[in-house]
């Protein structure tokens, strides 16, 4: 292989889409600092150079802080306040200046010595949460060193670059700007990581899980990120590039068409109405409901509230305000609010765990907390909520109160038994009773739904459907638990297959159980956002699909092109197949028969938004 040939790296696509540009390694990467002895007459100018760099770094942080506040909310930007203060700290600056003068060394070396000393003290701190702040010191020191190197740009990244980094430090998160960054290549971090969620929300294509391979991407080399397929192409050939360029143009053309038709109702070719709803992660996405033509919210995730309130827990008032906003925007179509779905490790990372453990009914053991080895099977979602009923009750009270402003329903994550549903209903009654006693209006009826996302829930689907007002199919977790595959683990992610025969049969069982019990069923996992998978869901009998807002225009267009009778027929055959390959083969053939005006790449790989959004 010559040095200039195309290299294909396979990773985990964590944000769909295609982007290309020169590779830029994280500016914080492995910097080697040299010591230089200064001549006496150089000292003054070195001190001046140091102070100028401090000024530049401070200004950069101020700009970043604003941007971060805008993108992630005020509560996240605080971390940069501490960074600014470090650059205003007379003690730190004085110590560095003294070192430059007395040791006659360059500013970089003085910064390094002082940083190392501070980090050594940090390492001695016993309290885990407080000790973690050491990474902030490193982040600030790196920014200062970059300013010293003469790099004056506010943004560490040149326009149109593809950022290559092991992980993203907090101050770089704020620099994720879709106008500037063509793509992201990360060493680690799964589909559910903070970076991934942010990248998807901003429409920046991203591929992760390339740990060892990052070194193969040299600085400034042209790289192409295909977040839809999870590919990174280093120095793509002109042919490859042309192919992708065509795809991108085609997709932009389609996107314009999809968006234009998004507000129209969605009916299959043979006249069956299908409801398309939105999954919402943050309140800032509420505008997307109208923009992409969503029919209400099929899943309002509430983790963002806990993120905002960290390290404390979100108050009833704060939650009420958020749910009220969602209720008002969604209007008649309503909102399904999912009670918080987090595991202990995530809570610990937020610093919220202390607050939560204090409120747990079972006394926390006196042993210090240690991370869960297997959080997916641990204390998470509804288990977490039921262990700290006061926290769940606060959430339920906020939902009940917000129901005065619109059509709200509750949905419970990770249910594995009827008892869990009964316990929540009991707590909901208590909450309503308390509210009435306080003279607060309580709606006559509030629907409670159960997420079917564990094998246990699949096999109890009939009973759960009877106990609940509606079912919600959480396909992401269901597939993970059915196939025993963690899709955040890039080593096994390829085994994660929504079209696996076992998955299809489980889905059929659940959809039929909902029909038998006469309960509505919504699908709110990623599957719904993928044309091929949506075809299967429709064929199985699903009539309500909920997905990330950006996927809605494409899926609506796809549904309108589908004939339900045909979909049912194809799915019947697929259900009889016992091999993954057979299922895939069958479905692909039927897709071709549909003769849809859609790029193959989109049909096979899901609804990637275009790189540049055409509004």
């Amino acid at each position: 292989m010559t040095a200039n040939s195309e290299i294909v790296l396979r990773g985990l696509g964590i944000s769909p889409g295609i982007g290309w540009g020169p590779a830029v390694h994280s500016p914080w990467r492995g910097r080697v600092i040299f010591r230089r002895r200064l001549a006496p007459q150089e000292i003054e100018s070195e001190v001046t150079r140091f102070h100028r760099a401090v000024g530049i770094a401070r200004e950069q942080l101020r700009v970043l802080r604003q941007r971060m506040e805008h993108a992630l909310g005020k509560e996240h930007a605080y971390i940069l306040d501490a960074h600014v203060l470090m650059l205003e700290d007379a003690g730190i600056l004085g110590e560095i200046e003294t070192l430059i003068r007395t040791n006659a060394v360059n500013a970089e070396w003085a910064v390094k010595l002082v940083t190392d000393r501070i980090l050594a003290i940090y390492a001695e701190i016993k309290d885990d949460d407080l000790r973690e702040r050491g990474s902030d010191i490193e982040d600030v020191a790196n920014r200062l060193l970059r300013a010293l190197s003469g790099d004056r740009s506010t943004c560490a990244l040149p326009e149109g670059a593809v950022l290559v980094s092991e992980t993203l430090p907090p101050s770089l998160l704020g620099e994720l700007d879709p106008q500037r960054i063509a793509g992201l290549i990360l060493g680690t971090g799964g589909w559910t990581s903070h970076v991934a969620i942010l990248a998807r929300g901003l429409g920046i294509p991203a591929v992760s899980g390339l740990r060892g391979a990052l070194a193969q991407i040299e600085d400034q080399a042209l790289v192409l990120v295909d977040g839809t397929r999870g590919l990174v192409l280093v120095r793509p050939s002109p042919d490859t590039l042309q192919r992708y360029q065509r795809q991108r143009q085609e997709r932009e053309r389609h996107w314009i068409r999809w968006q234009a038709r998004a507000p129209l109702p969605t009916t299959t070719r043979d006249g069956v109405p299908i409801t398309i709803r939105a999954n919402i992660e943050r309140l800032s996405e509420l505008d997307d409901l109208r923009r992409f033509g969503a029919c209400g919210i099929g899943l309002l995730r509430t983790e963002f509230l806990f993120l905002q309130a960290a390290p404390e827990l979100p108050s009833e008032e704060m939650q009420l305000e958020a749910y009220r906003q969602a209720a008002e925007v969604a209007g008649r179509e309503g909102v399904a609010i999912r009670t918080v779905d987090w595991d202990e490790n995530q809570m610990a990372a937020l610093g919220t765990l202390h607050a939560l453990r204090d409120r747990q009914t079972e006394p926390a053991s006196s042993e210090p907390w240690s991370p869960e080895r297997n959080p997916a099977l641990g204390l998470r979602a509804i288990r977490f909520s039921l262990r700290a009923p006061e926290v769940l009750k606060t959430q339920l009270r906020a939902i009940v109160r917000a129901a005065a402003f619109g059509n709200l329903r509750i949905v419970l994550p990770l249910i594995t038994s009827l008892e869990e549903v009964e316990q929540v209903r009991c707590l909901l009654q208590t909450a309503c009773r308390e509210l009435r006693a306080e003279g607060i209006a309580v709606p006559d009826r509030l629907l409670v739904g159960v997420m079917i996302e564990t094998p246990a829930a699949v096999w109890l689907a009939d009973e759960l459907a009877a106990a609940a007002d509606f079912l919600s199919l959480g396909t992401n977790d269901l597939i993970q638990y059915l196939l025993a595959v963690d899709r955040d683990n890039d080593r096994v992610a390829s085994l994660y297959d929504p079209l696996h025969p076992a998955v299809l049969r489980a889905l059929q069982h659940v959809i039929q159980a909902a029909e038998r019990a006469g309960r509505p069923l919504e699908v709110c996992g990623e599957m719904a956002a993928h044309p091929l998978h949506a075809l299967v869901l429709l064929g199985l009998g699903a009539r309500i699909l909920s997905m990330r807002p950006r996927a809605i225009p494409l899926i609506k267009d796809f549904v309108r092109a589908c004939e339900l009778a045909r979909a049912r027929e194809v799915v019947r055959k697929a259900l009889a197949a016992s091999r993954r390959a057979e299922v895939r083969e069958l479905l692909l053939r039927s897709l071709q028969e549909l003769r849809l005006e859609l790029p193959d790449e989109v049909l096979l790989n899901g609804s990637a938004p275009p790189v540049r959004e055409v509004s």
Partner: protein, 96 residues
């Protein structure tokens, strides 16, 4: 010179955000403001974020606050109130 002892009661102690608030508050006064851990005697200048962070004052830590200067009374009052109010985290959330 003014002096008072307060207890850190917010759950995370003087974490980065709380420390940032404390330093921002201290810098609004002309007086010299010193924090000292009652248990170890370790002291820090309240106007230095690094000093405050390195105190590593977790929840439950008692701090002796000393202020001295023309606005020492107001400074002591403001710093103590900030710590006792758990750094305003509660009110801010309600307002947001």
């Amino acid at each position: 010179m003014q002096r008072r002892t307060v207890q850190v009661t917010n759950r995370l102690g003087l974490h980065a955000r709380a420390a940032a608030k404390l330093v921002q508050a201290a810098n609004r006064f002309r007086s010299a403001i010193t924090l000292a851990r009652s248990d170890t005697g370790q002291t820090a200048d309240a106007k230095s974020i690094l000093g405050v962070l390195l105190l590593a004052a977790s929840a439950g830590t008692h701090l002796d606050i000393t202020t001295s200067g023309e606005d020492e009374v107001e400074a002591l009052e403001a710093i103590c109130r900030l710590i006792e109010s758990k750094f305003g985290e509660e009110e801010e959330r309600l307002g947001s």
